[in-house]
């Protein structure tokens, strides 16, 4: 019996052994890696839908500038005359620029600035555009128009990214193909060369891109708007007038002048209010929007990487920190950000922290002769004196100031606010109000945001007319905007670049990329040598040492380089002319070990610069 069992066992074990060897025979494809849960360029970018998906990510980056806590938009505002960094309880925010704006400082944080974010996001968009352009012919298209639309939109994204980069960083590396292996030999190309290149690309893209598209997607109007800016930057003022007119006089867009949208029936509001309510920005009846970022509360958790956690957060960033450090005239704490108390101000204006602090220029000086201008009307615009003391402790103690309007000074000159930098300035409520139902104390919730709208096209055309020495036509365009806002028309004799900049600040505050546009104008002055209203003329040779951008900010802003002016934490505000261009982040320069990416003048490392490229090299075979 035992022998039979032994034999059986041996047979079983023997066959198991054979099985074992068979199972482990190394088939050639045993080691193939199968990515089951993600796409790779080979299996996903060979269809029009795949290519469109890559371009949608580029749009996501463009939209991201305007959203979130410490939004990159704020850095654009801070490096101009319309706003300063109002965070006064710590060191790190971009206030003492001489000390803090360095290539190897933290350049990508809500607590400092977002200079590094811009560099990274725009080069990512360039990567997406190059990937689509290089792989275009791997896909099969329904027709020629579809192919051209995708190619045109990719060219737009590349041009948009370079337009911003050359006005933020000056000479930058020009990358025009998809980089598929580690490449470390980048060099900077001269700004003008890049400008000419993107101008040519945009001109090609205009007829290729579809005339109309979904809201939030690039179409011909979007391309024309950017082309207008690029034409201005290149000094081709006639071409800028033409491209702007194609938008303005075409049939697709018109300035909104009548009541419309969700608040149309509210007699206490006006068209300016309607235009800037987030639910009205993407309506079909809104004929003024050219490109908007779409962000809706009900889609906030769509699972993948591209939802915006907290939305615009704009009330938090841009409204003053009104709920603290403000006393009644009899010395009691005056304000409260509690919701649902008898005078609830937090649901009206949000729990602001004053990060994007409007300067006296943007909150007072440009409104000197506002009169009936809707954009400065009480209710659309709120000054601190329009708020009331609402602390529940005042109500409980029967304090006579409860419900009374705020005052800044006692008759003897004592200030009732301990931190007027962060806590005391006026703001455009009509633009900042974004309902925030998911927060106990509203910060500014989900909502669409304008990226391009027709009002800016009018102002760009007005600027082109000015550069073209036709102030009458410039005044006409400015007055279209002013008339819509029910403001007094401007006189032809008052039209100058400073008036145009003022009108942009009135109409486009917290929408336009102010630093980019102001730098563009500074470059135009330097390139043309034309003398500005301040009597100076500028040159490209010493742009970083002497430029219109710095002079303008020093002229109208009263914060920088003022001796003795410090935040409550002790930080001073300083700025130098070379801040017209941001420092190229040290990471990009240090990792580029086989080439030299130039650093901008005034920052450490600029002494290693080599002459930038003055032409575009042929693509490597």
């Amino acid at each position: 019996m035992k022998k039979a069992v032994n034999r059986h066992c041996r047979i079983i074990i023997g066959s198991l052994a054979m099985l074992g060897i068979l199972l482990t025979s190394c088939a050639e494809d045993f080691l193939d890696a199968e990515p089951q849960s993600f796409f790779t360029p080979e299996n996903a970018l060979n269809t029009p839908a795949g290519l469109n998906s890559v371009l949608s990510t580029a749009l996501y980056n463009i939209r991201s500038e305007y959203y979130g806590d410490g939004a990159p938009m704020i850095t654009e505002n801070v490096f101009s005359e319309v706003a300063i960094e109002g965070t006064t309880d710590k060191a790190g925010p971009a206030q003492d620029l001489n000390l803090q704006i360095l290539p190897d400082a933290n350049l990508n944080s809500g607590n400092t600035n977002r200079i590094g974010w811009f560099w990274e996001a725009f080069y990512e968009n360039i990567k997406f555009a190059n990937t689509v352009i290089d792989r275009l012919d791997d896909a099969e298209f329904d027709n020629e128009a579809q192919r051209n639309d995708i190619l045109g939109r990719a060219m737009f994204h590349r041009a948009y990214a370079y337009y911003r980069l050359i006005h933020q960083f000056g000479d930058v590396p020009l990358v025009l193909e998809e980089v598929t292996s580690p490449r470390l030999n980048f060099v900077s190309t001269q700004r003008d060369v890049i400008l000419d290149f993107i101008q040519a690309e945009l001109n090609m893209a205009v007829p290729m891109v579809n005339e109309s598209s979904n809201g939030g997607e690039v179409n011909r109007g979007v391309v024309l708007h950017l082309l207008t800016k690029v034409n201005l930057a290149a000094g081709d003022f006639e071409a800028a007038i033409l491209s702007a007119s194609q938008l303005i006089d075409g049939s697709n867009y018109a300035l909104v002048t009548n009541r419309f949208g969700s608040t149309a029936g509210d007699a206490t509001k006006d068209v300016t209010w309607d235009l800037h309510q987030v639910e009205n920005k993407s309506l079909p009846s809104n004929t003024e929007v050219i490109l908007a970022g779409v962000d809706r509360l009900e889609f906030r958790d769509i699972g993948a990487a591209n939802d915006f956690g907290d939305g615009t957060s704009i009330m938090r960033q841009a409204t003053p920190l009104w709920w603290r450090f403000i006393n009644t005239p009899d010395g009691q704490n005056g304000m409260s950000d509690e919701p649902n108390i008898s005078i609830d101000q937090v649901n009206l204006i949000g729990r602001g922290i004053g990060r994007n602090r409007g300067t006296r220029y943007s909150t007072k000086d440009i409104w000197r002769n506002a009169n009936t201008d809707e954009r400065h009307k009480l209710g659309n615009w709120l000054d601190m004196e329009d708020l009331v003391y609402n602390a529940p402790s005042l109500e409980a103690s029967g304090n006579p100031f409860f419900g009374q309007n705020l005052e800044l000074y006692l008759p003897d000159g004592t200030a009732l606010c301990a931190d007027t930098i962060r806590n005391w300035y006026g703001f455009p409520q009509y633009k900042f109000f974004v309902p925030d139902p998911t927060a106990v104390k509203p910060s500014g919730g989900h909502g669409d945001w304008y990226i391009y709208r027709l009002a800016e096209t009018y102002l760009l055309r007005a600027e082109a007319h000015f550069w073209n020495n036709n102030n009458a036509l410039a005044a006409a365009d400015i007055n279209v905007i002013r008339q819509r806002a029910n403001a007094d028309p401007v006189d032809v004799s008052d039209v100058d670049i400073d008036y145009i900049l003022d009108e942009r600040a009135r109409e486009l505050y917290y929408e336009e990329n102010r630093k980019t546009e102001l730098t563009r104008i500074a470059y135009i002055f330097a390139k043309t040598g034309r003398s500005a209203y301040n009597g100076k003329s500028y040159s490209l040779d010493n742009f970083s040492q002497d430029n219109f951008w710095y002079d303008r900010i020093m002229e109208v802003t009263d914060f920088y380089n003022v001796p003795g002016l410090r935040t409550v934490f002790g930080v001073a505000f300083t700025m130098s002319p070379y801040h017209v261009l941001w420092p190229v982040p040290a990471g990009a320069i240090n990792a580029n070990t086989q080439g030299v990416i130039n650093q901008n003048q005034g920052y450490p490392g600029a002494e290693n610069n080599i002459p930038p490229l003055t032409s575009i090299p042929e693509p490597e075979g």
Binding site: I21, T24, C26, S56, S282, V294, I302, V571
Partner: protein, 606 residues
């Protein structure tokens, strides 16, 4: 119930002392009070093997190991928490199935004093993981059913992630020994792993070793030394510690919003190629050379071994920073060469061996020095290789070297003007300005020591009293390493709304030089504070009683031992005075106390 920091007047739990979630400081009990959670991990390990004796000295072994693991994570966070406006829930399920198959063929033969042995191994493995994650929020009509009813959520998202990796190997080993005095071994392996680039999935790793038992030689006559063996080996082995799909370019998919002609929102897909592919990615290879000596003196009263090694690793798998102008921040690549050299020494001795008292000691010591020999092959104008400043890798320096701006003390009251030149005040950290140019930047970075210990040692003493009572204690030490101690900056949270560790801090009346003022200013430059973290720890103390055989025979137990054991009884650090000098990960922070264990146990063998 009055209001307090934690509860409001009505007795409801508050969100935070300020009733908002500024600075992320929320009541620590919210999650406990308003959450339901199930987190389970079931793992089943099995091994099946068969051994067959074959004729002619061969034997065969087949082994199959399987691990089946189920992970479940169900979490619900209610809308009743002051932190939430809506309830949310998630169900995460993951199944992992992993198997390994071994075929081993052995052969042994002895002829006179010659002995041969031969081993052949054929191996394969596969790892598969399937995961599904379902999330929902905003439940209608209410969230009372929690994570058991995700379909009641108005916003639902589902994600899945599946991963498969495979590997294989074969190995041949040949051994020979003569008279148990001279021993030789040769091994050749070929390993393969699916994660590497298409052309480099497999690699060869040979090794060879020899040993000479000197004490068996006829000429070796010593009463002091009774065993002496000299060992020499050279081998290559590989490292495959990279992500499963590191050589591929991954397109991560997402969603974006547009509006259509009617103003309604439409979702469109997005692709983001977040990683650059590297089809050349291959095995990291270490060439190890080892010289060893085993000894035994005084008839075994002192025994030990001594090893010296020199390893060179090349084709290191590193994450290499790219200029982000490419649109990628980094890529995984094989670059560079590092060397590791060191010694290891272990000795144990029977100090006293009497009938009623025995005492033995074991001591070990190790020292390792590593150095980067090559990096990426980028040369400067003099032909010298460039360092990688971004990743702090320097030619000729160890991989764990600390490089940065050095905090050399605190600015004191009489240095206010100098401090102001750097934008800071008395009470803030003073950073060394190496080149005295008034700017703190990369040119002021200096080498400040190492993150890994310079050397380690351990000492165990064991005592036996009256044949039945054992007592032992162990000391071990890591010496010469430094740890980050940024807590000294006093910036771990907003002072008006979060709790804070009790640390000393600078004040004008208490002008210290090692801790900054509360919420100090970093100034214009980023820096870390490094502290020496060398320590000696009293670790394993055990007292045990072994029951005598006579007692156990009566109850048919062959062995029984009662013991009490304490781990981490105490630690002494030369310079570290905050919690424990050895990093212990706790809740994601590595500033935490090290746990002390007390164990009482009874071992019984029947």
């Amino acid at each position: 119930m009055g209001s307090s920091v934690e509860f409001d007047d009505a007795g409801n739990i508050r969100l935070s002392p300020q009733d908002d979630n500024g600075a992320g400081a929320v009541n620590a009990f919210l999650r406990r009070d308003f959450s339901d959670r199930v987190e389970l991990d079931h793992a089943f390990n099995s091994r099946v093997y068969a051994k067959i004796k074959l004729p002619l000295g061969f034997s065969y072994e087949l082994g199959y190991v399987n691990r089946l693991e189920f992970r479940e994570y169900y979490d619900f966070y209610s809308e009743r928490s002051p932190e939430n406006l809506v309830g949310s829930a998630v169900r995460d399920n993951r199944k992992i199935n992993e198997w390994q198959l071994d075929n081993i063929l052995r052969w042994n033969k002895s002829i006179d004093k010659h002995a041969f042995d031969f081993t052949f191994l054929l191996y394969a493995e596969k790892f598969q993981s399937y995961g599904t994650s379902a999330r929902a929020n905003t439940f209608e009509p209410s969230d009372a059913l929690g994570f058991s009813s995700l379909e009641r959520g108005t916003i639902q998202t589902v994600e899945s992630e599946d991963v498969t990796t495979t590997g294989d190997a074969y190995m041949t080993r040949f051994g020979y020994n003569y008279d148990s005095r001279y021993l030789l071994n040769f091994v050749m392996r070929r390993d393969g792993f699916s994660a590497f680039g298409a052309n480099n999935k497999r690699a060869y790793f040979p090794s060879a070793s020899g040993a000479w038992v000197v004490s068996e030689e006829k000429f070796f006559k010593s009463n002091f030394v009774n065993f002496l063996k000299l060992r020499l080996s050279y081998g290559e082995n590989g490292n495959r510690n990279i992500g499963e799909f590191a050589s591929l370019s991954q397109l991560s998919a997402g969603n974006f919003l547009n509006t259509n002609a009617n103003g309604q929102v439409v979702q469109v897909p997005t692709f983001n190629n977040t990683t650059q592919e590297n089809t050349d990615l291959r095995w990291e290879r270490t060439k190890a050379f080892n010289l060893g000596l085993d000894f035994s003196f005084l008839k075994g009263r002192i025994e030990g071994s001594f090893d010296a090694y020199s390893n060179v690793t090349d084709d290191l798998i590193v994450t290499r920073q790219l200029p982000n102008v490419i649109g990628f921040d980094n890529v995984i690549a094989n670059l560079g060469e590092i060397q590791n050299q060191g010694i290891e020494f272990a000795v144990s001795s029977q100090n006293i061996a009497k009938e009623k008292f025995q005492w033995s000691t074991a001591f070990n010591f190790s020292l390792n020095r590593n150095k980067i020999n090559e990096l990426y092959g980028d040369l400067d104008e003099n032909g010298n290789e460039l360092d990688d400043l971004e990743n702090e890798r320097f030619i000729g320096e160890p991989t764990d070297v600390i490089w940065g701006r050095e905090a050399v003390g605190i600015w004191q009251l009489d240095e206010a003007a100098e401090a102001a030149a750097f934008g800071v005040s008395p009470g803030d950290f003073k950073i060394r300005d190496v080149n005295n140019d008034g700017v703190l930047d990369i040119q002021d970075n200096v080498f400040q020591g190492n993150r890994l210990p310079l050397y380690r040692w351990g000492l165990t003493n064991s005592f036996t009293f009256f044949k039945n009572i054992d007592f032992s204690f162990e000391l071990y030490s890591n010496w010469g390493q430094k740890r980050e101690f940024n807590l000294a900056k006093g910036r771990a949270g907003f002072i008006d709304r979060t709790n804070f560790w009790q640390i000393p801090y600078w004040t004008p009346e208490n002008p210290r030089n090692d801790y900054a003022r509360l919420f100090s200013n970093d100034g214009s430059s980023t820096f870390n504070v490094w502290r020496d973290a060398s320590f000696v720890r009293l670790s394993n103390v055990t007292l045990a009683y072994r029951f005598p055989q006579k007692m156990l025979e009566k109850v048919s137990i062959s062995n029984a031992r009662l013991y009490v054991n304490a781990r981490n009884l105490g630690v002494w650090a030369r310079n570290w005075d905050f919690f424990d000098p050895e990093p212990a990960a706790l809740l994601g922070s590595d500033i935490a106390p090290m746990v002390r264990f007390f164990t009482l146990g009874l071992d019984i063998t029947l």
